[in-house]
Symmetry: C2
Subunit: 152 residues, 2 copies
DNA sequence: ATATACTTGATCAATTTAGTCAACTATGTT
DNA sequence: AACATAGTTGACTAAATTGATCAAGTATAT
């Protein structure tokens, strides 16, 4: 379980765009240099972010990318979903044993444990905004998880 | 971000061994059948669990595996660490950009966000015991995360 | 003795992740 | 209009990880 390079890079790119919010667009080339990410990879990631509606692109000589929304209105969860599809992939049914004779239904308590973990992680990511990420010390106290554990 | 088959299988195997706790050992062959996991893979996973001290092996004609400790004394976190090494791999420095001109040090708030996520996930796994997993409804309310978000 | 069953390390295939490439389209500037 | 900048697209490749298999052992209860 780890943060992939796509997510790491996407997050850094979004923070860079947050810093430049309200100013002129940042080109993929520029972002590639300041963030030390291969330019083609930057383009690929920005394209996914664009398709998710998180950034806008501007062609031509002084083109580049800008945030679609204000930094405080963009959640880290949206960024992760844009590049990964799903934040936490459900496990039930993915493996042979699970499908054929699923021990995740009525016979043991494993399934809810995975589900809650997924919910917890999503909640965590959705509780953090780009604005939080721009702060030196990270976000203050973004998530309230109490409810999750009593959910039935 | 997902639960790997090793973790899924290891968890199921440990729950099966929990059910048989105090009884005769369960052979890899038996576990393979009841859990629908290839027998060689079962052996591989059980070996890792053994090296982590979570199960004991018994050779010979009525041999097999037994839990080393009572189900309520084994944490899910230990099971995950036994098969995966680390529950959540630290990201800082893993990628080129991070090493060369790390944006995770003093200049933005990304790093603490990953660290806290990792701490949260570890805390979650360590708050669940095999005993919890045996219950139909999963564990009750294993984790208190309040402290995590104010940690500095 | 012998059948059962754990032990070990190597190997292999499938999948995912990371990164590259090339051909193209749009746009501002001169 | 010409041109340079810069986004767009999809295919492609390489590396790493994951999932699974195999073979040649060793130990032990009966």
């Amino acid at each position: 379980m780890r943060i992939t390079s796509s997510v790491e890079y996407a997050t850094r790119l979004m923070v860079a765009l947050s810093r430049a919010f309200g100013q002129t667009p940042l080109s993929a080339e520029t972002l590639s240099e300041t963030e030390n990410v291969p330019v083609d990879y930057v383009n690929q990631i920005l394209l996914r972010l664009k398709r998710a509606g998180l950034v806008e692109s501007h062609r031509g000589i002084r083109g580049g990318y800008t945030l679609s929304k204000r930094p405080e209105q963009v959640k880290l969860g949206q960024v992760v979903r844009a590049v990964e599809g799903e934040i936490f992939e459900s496990v039930c049914g993915r493996y042979e044993g699970g499908k054929k004779d699923c021990h995740h239904q009525g016979r043991c308590g494993i399934s809810p444990v995975w589900r809650r973990l997924g919910a917890m992680i999503e909640e965590y990511f959705d509780g953090i905004t780009l604005d939080n990420l721009m702060q030196e010390q990270g976000m203050p106290c973004p998530v309230k998880l109490e409810g999750l554990f009593h959910e039935r």
